[in-house]
């Protein structure tokens, strides 16, 4: 169910990027797509009632076997969080470039409307 909602968010972003005529709205659509994918990655590692995948000094007192069992049963998967951090940084870079190109286009053409920015054809 949650995954379906996440996919819906992705499709909203795709719709926005494909249909909208305004450069900034297209960029917003792309950002929504990226958020949807990030959300999906985080949900992959989510666990109801999970704990942080960290073993503190105090935990060792409970005994290694019980500790390991509790860790396997409760800890959330840390890998997707690392992936999402990376992907957020990457999308920050591409978003910054997209916006700066939008600004340059506005300087040249004086509009954000893609129907008026059509010099290339064929």
């Amino acid at each position: 169910m949650l995954y379906a909602l996440c996919f819906l968010l992705f499709m909203i972003g795709l719709y926005c990027a494909v249909v909208k005529k305004n450069l900034v709205k297209i960029v917003i659509g792309l950002a929504i797509m990226e958020y949807a994918v990030n959300l999906f990655l985080i949900m992959l590692g989510y666990r109801v009632g999970g704990t942080a995948p960290i073993i503190g000094r105090g935990d060792v007192a409970t005994g290694v076997d019980r500790l390991a069992a509790r860790f396997v049963n409760n800890a959330v998967d840390p890998l997707p969080q690392a992936l999402v951090l990376t992907s957020i940084v990457i999308s920050l870079g591409s978003l910054a470039l997209l916006i700066s190109i939008c600004i340059r286009i506005y300087d040249r053409y004086g509009t954000f409307d893609i129907t008026e920015i059509r010099r290339l054809k064929g």
């Binding site: 792309l30 797509m33 999906f40 290339l120």
Partner: protein
């Protein structure tokens, strides 16, 4: 040998961040350093031919860490990427004098090279995405480098479609991780082999085909390429058409299909359909073009169709359990055409840049009679045109011949016929280029044009001689066994290949 693998990424990456420091006064030094980097990477790539190995980044074991993998296919792709990078960089020495901010250009160029090398050698799916984005973002910026109306428009269009492709690929990667619990290609391959391809993985596969198809500009996804490639500076057009669409698109896709997911009949048919569509649509759109670089860009789509057709044919034969000999012949044709296209298409873009620099125009109708004014450019352009049209004895002829033989032997006579017809239309289109650019009357406005200088001619002649010499790769058995065959075997061996190389 695997110890030098990180150098393919680290060296260009580090130098890329040092170069902008040079500023305007250090332009000469920046150019020199950048050229040294690309040439030493080329030497390193030559040294890696025929070697296999694995490098565990940061000494983390492959279970948890990232691995870099060198195998037959990776070393072939490294060779292609770095040959074209060295030639394009040499060409830029003089060509990029027309633009301001040359050190920034060199820096972006090296970032793109780092990203492509990374995509080729990585053995980790998420790491593949990271390098893919490095190369893509650098290429978006390079397409818009001129900052004029057309360049910005093309760059924006390219970026929007490129970002959609990246999101699709990342969603696919997330699905693969969710279904297999691993990101390392070998572990993923083993998990998929054990469980079979379920609905989630099949969905991931279709996302990958769409995402990497967008990056490779296969026909339903090709809209950005004819705008983006001509708008970039000529050496960048050469890099984009020559290697970027291959390393980021076809290489990554075939690596995932063959070595991670395993081939299946529907995927084989999808690849063949995409290949044939690209071949036919690309070439017919190209024939009507009068802009030199735009014409070349449409031919890139068409020639990528050949590569995908060869690989798809191999996948189909393997999945149907047909004769593996014909499968490996088809894949050989596809991969050989991939490296050939890297060389002759980048050469064609370099000659178009040389002509554009000398005459100031890209319109074929405004040129003519340049044969005496620009003899070297003319010679290079003629060789490359003959190679792309499949005229013997140049390299393009042999790869197309292999593809036709493989198609006939596997019983696909229709595909063989399409291949030959598209090749003839390509020849027609390049006869037009020769006729309008180099033969005919010299227009009054172009009386004073002259050959472009040293580094540009050197780069063109280097690639032109490769067009001829690369025929030896397939004609001389010992060279074929050393260079091409390991790459073909890596794909034919399929899922077991990545597991074997990783020593699981």
């Amino acid at each position: 040998m695997s110890r030098v693998l990180p150098a393919f990424v680290v060296v260009p990456l580090v130098v890329a961040f040092i170069l902008p420091v040079f500023g305007k006064k250090g332009k000469v030094w920046a150019t020199l350093v950048a050229n040294m980097v690309t040439i030493s990477l080329l030497a390193l790539a030559v040294a890696c031919v025929g070697k296999t190995g694995i490098y565990e980044v940061g000494n983390w074991s492959s279970r948890v860490g990232i691995v870099l993998v060198l195998d037959g296919l990776a070393s072939l792709m490294l060779l292609a990427v770095n040959v074209v990078a060295a030639a394009a960089m040499l060409f830029s020495v003089r060509y990029m004098e027309q633009y301001t901010a040359k050190p920034k250009y060199l820096s972006l160029f090296l970032l793109m090279v780092a990203g492509m090398n990374g995509v080729v050698i990585t053995g980790d799916i998420f790491n593949l995405y990271v390098f893919l984005e490095i190369a893509s973002i650098a290429s978006y910026a390079l397409v818009g480098f001129g900052c004029e109306h057309e360049e910005l428009e093309a760059s924006f269009k390219y970026m929007v479609l490129g970002s959609v492709a990246s999101s699709l690929i990342l969603l696919g990667i997330a699905l693969v991780y969710g279904n297999t619990g691993a990101l390392n290609m070998a572990y993923t391959a083993r998990a998929i082999q054990g469980s079979g391809v379920n609905a989630g993985l099949a969905f991931a596969m279709s996302l990958f085909i769409a995402g990497f198809g967008l990056k490779a500009a296969l026909v339903p996804f090709h809209a950005w390429l004819p705008d983006a490639h001509p708008s970039a500076p000529a050496p960048i057009s050469a890099m984009l058409s020559g290697v970027l669409i291959k390393a980021l698109g076809v290489y990554a896709l075939s690596r995932l299909i063959f070595n991670v997911f395993g081939v299946s009949i529907p995927v084989g048919w999808v690849l063949i359909a995409l290949g044939v569509l690209s071949m036919v649509v690309g070439v017919f759109l190209a024939v009507g073009q009068w802009d030199f670089k735009r014409l070349l860009a449409y031919h890139s789509i068409s020639q990528m169709g050949y590569v995908v057709l060869g690989i798809g044919l191999g996948a189909l034969i393997l999945a149907k359990g047909g004769n593996p000999l014909w499968a490996s012949l088809a894949i050989l044709g596809g991969l050989f055409h991939l490296v050939n296209h890297a060389v002759f298409k980048s050469l064609l873009f370099l000659t178009s840049g040389s002509v554009e620099m000398a005459t100031g125009t890209r319109q074929l109708k405004q040129m003519g009679g340049l044969v005496e004014r620009m003899p070297y450019t003319r010679a290079a352009c003629t060789i490359a045109s003959a190679a792309i049209a499949g005229v013997p004895p140049f390299n393009g002829f042999w790869s197309k011949l292999i593809l036709v033989i493989a198609a006939v032997q596997a019983g696909f006579f229709g595909l063989a016929a399409v291949t030959v017809v598209v090749s003839l239309v390509t020849l027609l289109s390049f006869l037009k280029v020769q006729r309008y650019v180099f033969l005919g009357e010299l227009p009054e406005a172009l009386r004073n044009t002259h050959e472009t200088g040293g580094s540009m001619v050197t780069a063109m002649l280097f690639l032109a001689s490769l067009c001829l010499l690369m025929s030896l790769l397939v004609l001389v058995p010992s060279l074929r066994v050393a260079v091409l065959q390991p790459a073909v075997d890596a794909l034919v061996e399929g899922v077991n290949h990545s597991i074997r190389v990783a020593n699981l």
